[in-house]
Symmetry: C2
Subunit: 415 residues, 2 copies
């Protein structure tokens, strides 16, 4: 009980404060709910096809062919598909566990080590809620996915930021491993990171992954790896799955994946978490009170995942690499922009020239003046006041034109 002399007041503030910290105004997809009353534009609107870089465009890159057909088949299976176990349909889990075992080079028992969730966001929420107790220190990367910090705070944990100096190298992510060790030493019991990193699109080197695993093992910590974009690798890059390194106690590792990004299945809300049976058990218990299960018919759509038509994935990667190249070329031609080339996934996280407006205002200006939506760097860590993220899984020509407009707007507000 937390009571001061005013009684309930303290508790009221507890929940209000918590939700103040949970602000979603700048989160992708929420931009239309933003307050833009105080935004003043310099000059006229710049015409062009609106582009929403806050997430991928599933009209430009469509869902896996046949995904709707498997959904319809799922519907016609009826009650068995509508009411699955909370961790997901046994038949679907068998199929997914087999496919992910092959992909990751690890051994996944469909009965013990895997849960199907409503999107990878669902997997992340359940995993964090199953590990973090009040007051726990949780190490997260700066920059990394914006929900990570919010999740730690929602579960009353304490964020320990680990810096990633992504501009200092091109052979690794640049994660400060000594900071990570210090975090573990100071009692952090969980390390959460995305690989490839969101928002920079860099891949952790094998050496980094092995060191992360060794440190976690040494200090008895758990690790959650969000590998959402790990199938979309450019320039012949290789990817190291932490779960197959056999360094950590497998009961302390959870890996998260899903078909929402490269495969454009986001509209179905599907994700999976696999690894520790102890944590998966808890996640299922939590799922039982959060939303029961991933949509029953939706689960059937996972049949199309890792079973795309021949050549489909290779073509998709090639198309994305071509867009990336054009966008990087544009940014690199302008003084003051600094970008590390995306190694995997569809994100670019450019550092912008010095501006006369804060990044959060710049992002609103960009949307109002040029019809271009991006996500401010501050969503990924409070110090990223000079960067924004864009998801370049877009119509190629529209994306290039939009970058031209971004550059025009930067010139209008440059210091």
């Amino acid at each position: 009980m937390l009571l001061n002399y005013e009684g309930v007041i303290v508790k009221m503030n507890l929940i209000e404060d918590k939700f103040l910290r949970l602000g979603a105004e700048n989160a992708p997809g929420q931009e239309t709910r933003q307050n833009t009353v105080n935004i003043e534009l310099r000059g006229e609107k710049i015409p062009g096809t609106p582009v929403d870089f806050s997430h991928g465009d599933v009209d430009a890159f469509e869902p896996i062919p046949g995904s709707l057909d498997v959904f319809v088949e799922g519907f016609h299976i009826g009650g068995k598909q509508a009411y699955t176990e909370y961790r997901g349909s046994k038949i679907i889990r068998e199929d997914v566990a087999r496919k992910l075992s092959t992909f990751t080079g690890s051994s996944i028992d469909d009965d013990k080590n895997l849960i199907i969730t409503p999107g990878t966001q669902g997997a992340l929420f359940l995993a964090m809620g199953s590990i973090i107790a009040r007051g726990d220190k949780v190490a997260i990367v700066a920059p990394d996915y914006f929900a990570n910090r919010k999740l730690v705070e929602f579960f009353d944990g304490e964020v320990v930021p680990i810096q990633m100096e992504y501009f200092n190298t091109n052979t690794s992510s640049g994660l400060d491993l000594s900071q990570l060790e210090a975090a573990f030493k100071s009692g952090a019991k969980l390390f959460l990171f995305s690989n490839p990193n969101n928002p920079t699109g860099v891949i952790y080197s094998q050496e980094e992954i092995r060191t992360i695993a060794e440190l976690a093992q040494q200090y008895g910590a758990s690790v959650i790896v969000d590998q959402l974009y790990s199938r979309q690798l450019f320039d012949g890059h290789t990817f190291t799955h932490l779960c197959s390194q056999n360094i950590m106690d497998p009961e302390n590792v959870i890996t998260i994946m899903g078909p929402s990004k490269t495969e454009s299945l986001s509209g179905y809300r599907l994700g999976v978490a696999f690894g520790s049976s102890r944590i998966i058990d808890r996640m299922e218990k939590l799922q039982a009170i959060v939303s029961l299960r991933a949509g029953g018919y939706n689960q059937a759509v996972l049949k199309s995942w890792f079973k795309e038509p021949d050549g489909w994935m290779a073509q998709r990667i090639k198309d994305h690499q071509a867009i990336r190249d054009d966008l990087l070329g544009k940014f690199n031609a302008v003084e003051g922009f600094k970008v590390r080339p995306t190694e995997a996934g569809s994100y670019i996280f450019p550092k912008v020239p010095e501006l006369e407006v804060p990044i959060v205002d710049f992002v609103k200006i960009l949307r109002l003046q040029a019809g271009v939506t991006v996500t401010p760097g501050t969503e990924f860590g409070s110090q990223f006041t000079d960067s924004f993220r864009l998801n370049f899984s877009q119509d190629h020509k529209a994306a290039v034109d939009a970058i031209n407009r971004i550059i025009q707007v930067v010139e209008l507000y440059r210091k």
Copy 2:
């Protein structure tokens, strides 16, 4: 920080304890994961079509005609439907707000007062998580939906049970209103209840609803009403919507509904919460880290809700009332059974004759020996050791046969 001389140990136990209390073994749909090693059967298996009374059978009572078509249309809308605002697609919210305003007799602003969620479970989780702070007292009914207690405990609240003496009356629910007032007096800031009540199927009288609202208003408490089954009323019963009584500050009321039960759309995972704009805002922020949004394409299916073909709902209610009548007749013919007739929804909560085995074992026996799955009363409150719940939205003949088998098994284990 919660540290004793052993440091982290205290915190480890915190999360382990929390998940021990979150047991889902006896929850509907999880029965196949139960441990039945120690269950001994008296006599042979009793043959018959297996019936799973733990939830409705959407093969016996199929989804609203055309629901799949609207899903497919939603898919073809593409990116706009895949990536909606976290609170759900504006167009769908407009439609649902209009329909629910008419149904409840209240005024729902689609922009401020409504959120689309992954099932009503999702709505319940988000609403509870948006109101309950650590240590808060929360009044819940005994018996009521099994997740209610678990949700309060997950959010570190304190359960204050309010007894419902449902056998003592047939003109109201039998809720002990003096207990409710005592709970508010002792500091409970939230009252959560389902109407019609799950598991008994009784409807709160208008007088009860008005008294609940008056008490909550008097003590400044919030109320969450789960009205999942409020469209399926039998015997000409009327239903009182708390949200349209104009007694409470509307910013302290959240109503939850969804198409998963009567309308058999559970496989799409759709629910809505409406009411307080302050709480809906928080729920959206929480949704942003829980699962982003209800499945985008799935949301489109809400177009078919409250727009069922002419006569479809009336027929569905009639069919259910006929099943209810047969089942009640069966139970009432056996000495020791006691049942209050279901007034709304598809649940029956019979008190069983005294048995020589605990109710949790009896339920396992029933499944193993007779192929009949029901939910033990203890899920709805620890004192209901002599009752079980069944959802009679089943094939009519199979349901009647299954009741015969239940009675046979009761005779084998009767004290």
